[in-house]
Structures are given as C-alpha cells and as structure tokens.
Amino acid sequence: MEIKLTLLALPLLYLLGLLLTHALAVRAWPKVSGQKLVLLVILSGNFPSLGLGIFLLWPLRLEGWLPVLAYLVVVYNGLGYGYFHFFNLSETARRIRLLIEVYQGVGAGTEKYQPESMVKNRIDRLVAMGQLEEGQGKYRVKGRLLLNAALVLELYKKLLGF
C-alpha cells in the first residue's frame, strides 16, 4: 500500500522538481536557447528522479525493482516531454500569443502580429538551436534533428488522413 502510494506521489514531485529546476536554470543561463535549456533540464533530471524514487522506496523493502524503475522512467520522461511542450507552447505558440495579446488588450489580437516578424523569429530560433546556418544571405540546413522530426510528422499526417 505504502509503496503504491509513493509511486503515485512521485510524478507530482517530479513535476514540481522540473518546474523549480527550470526556473533556476533560466536565471543561471539566461542567454542559452530556451528549448535547449529545458531539454537539458529534463534529460539531466532522469538521474536525480530515479535516485529520489530509489531513496524513497528503499526502506519499503521492495521485491521487484525492475518494473518499478521502468514505471519511474516511463512516467518521468512522459511528464518531462509534456513539460517541454508546455514550455514550448508558452514560447512559440501563435495561439497562446494571440490569447495573451487579447487578454492584455493589445488591439484585436492580430494587429501587432506580423507574418514577417513571425518568420524571422523562427529563423533566429532555428539558427540558435543549430538547425539552420546562414551564409551569403541564404539559409541552409545544419542539424538534422528537427528536420527528421518534421519529415516523420509529414508521414504521420498522411496516416491520419490530413
């Protein structure tokens, strides 16, 4: 009973830990790309999260550790991935920006949001993340991580009938 309650409580601790660590990391490294930083925080959090799980469960004399560790890895990384996208939404989502602009009474929500600045913002972010590089006024693909993700999503769209 106690073991299962601990396993149910751990994900909540993980989320809280991610939020606090991320807030500290943003203040410590303000110039690092937002997406890079949050990914680093999440990935490097795997070890302390597993450590915390083992620390809390050790006194409970658990018999089968393997499924418990698998559970912790799946749940932590699932939540971490969710947290990454939550941050990404706050950073890059056009809909969230529109909602906030309407909330703050900035025009009707679309007046200040020019397509040109939106494209430039994204090019700058892709360069900062090492996915694009600029030379002689032209942008070329540098890293393949996001490009491969984009190509996989294009395939999945076809599966869903888009």
């Binding site: 073991i3 299962k4 939404l89 309407v102 892709l126 942008y139 869903l160």
Partner: protein, 166 residues
C-alpha cells in the same frame, strides 16, 4: 507493482490511439483540444473507473498506477498533436530549406507561407475551441481563454521570462 500495470497502461493507450485514428479517418472533428481530451483523458478515465467499479481485476491503487502510465503516454501524444494537425512554421521552414538547392533567403522563406495562413487559421482554431469570440471591439476571450492566458502569463513570470514571441 509488476510489469502487468505498465503493460496495461500501454495497452489502454494503444487501444484509444487506434480508436482516435479511426475516428479521425472517418470524420475528423472540429477543434483540437476538446476531441483529444475526450479521446485520451475522459474516455480512458471512465474506462478505468468502470473497471474499478464493475470488474476490479486489480485493486484501486494498481489500476491507478496503470492509469498513470496511460496518462504519461497520453500527455506526450496530446502535446505532439498540434505539430501533426497544423502547419508548424519552423518545420515548414526546415522542409523548404532542405528541398531547395543552395538554401533560401529570408524573402524566399516568407514566400513558403500563404498570405493570412499564419494568423487567420490560428484565430479560427481559437474560435472552434471556444477560447475567443468576436465582440464589438474585436476578439474577446471566453472564460476558459482568459484562464489559459493567465496560466501562461503567470508561468512565464515564474520562470523570469518575457511573454513568448509566438
């Protein structure tokens, strides 16, 4: 806890993913947030509650652990879905640059997007999800839209960041 709970969480997620695939192929719903919440959170939640009430092959805590595994996978999928359903401008840029020979200039990259595509479609989706409506002075937020705006503003302030650039 055994691998059975983890496996059952994966199984439930896979089942609802297939149902979602069929639903979308047969009749894609309008909006994004509500149908996904229904397909991956509400319906599976009811399933787990139903199992716990009428066919409790495990105890409540074991079922809750399996539900957490499903929940972790569902959150991953729901967060990825907007990238699938709509144009992700960064991805469009990468694919466009990748397909070009010798790279693209900024005006050429801007040319990858149709006029109004970047903003109009977003406003429509906000309306379909019931987050904004047209009022006398332009767009107005629904109560849920206002809540979302406050949540994201508060979150950015907590992190010590300015509002996102979109």
């Amino acid at each position: 806890m055994t691998f059975a709970q983890i496996g059952f969480g994966f199984f439930v997620f896979a089942t609802f993913w297939i149902l979602h695939l069929l639903w979308w192929r047969l009749c894609r719903p309008k909006g994004e947030i509500r149908p996904l919440v229904l397909a991956f959170l509400v319906a599976p939640g009811l399933l787990f509650l139903g199992i716990n009430r009428f066919y409790p092959f495990w105890g409540t805590l074991d079922l809750a652990l399996a539900f957490f595994v499903h929940l972790a996978l569902a959150v991953v999928y729901i967060q990825t879905y907007p990238a699938i359903a709509s144009t992700i401008p960064s991805f469009r840029i990468l694919i466009g640059v990748h397909a070009s020979k010798g790279g693209l200039s900024v005006p050429e990259i801007e040319g990858l997007f149709a006029q109004g595509e970047l903003i109009g479609s977003r406003v429509e989706l906000l309306g379909e999800d019931g987050l904004v409506r047209s009022g006398e002075k332009g767009l107005e937020l629904s109560s849920f839209g206002r809540l979302l705006a406050v949540v994201f503003l508060t979150y950015r302030r907590f992190l010590g960041l300015q509002r996102g650039q979109g």
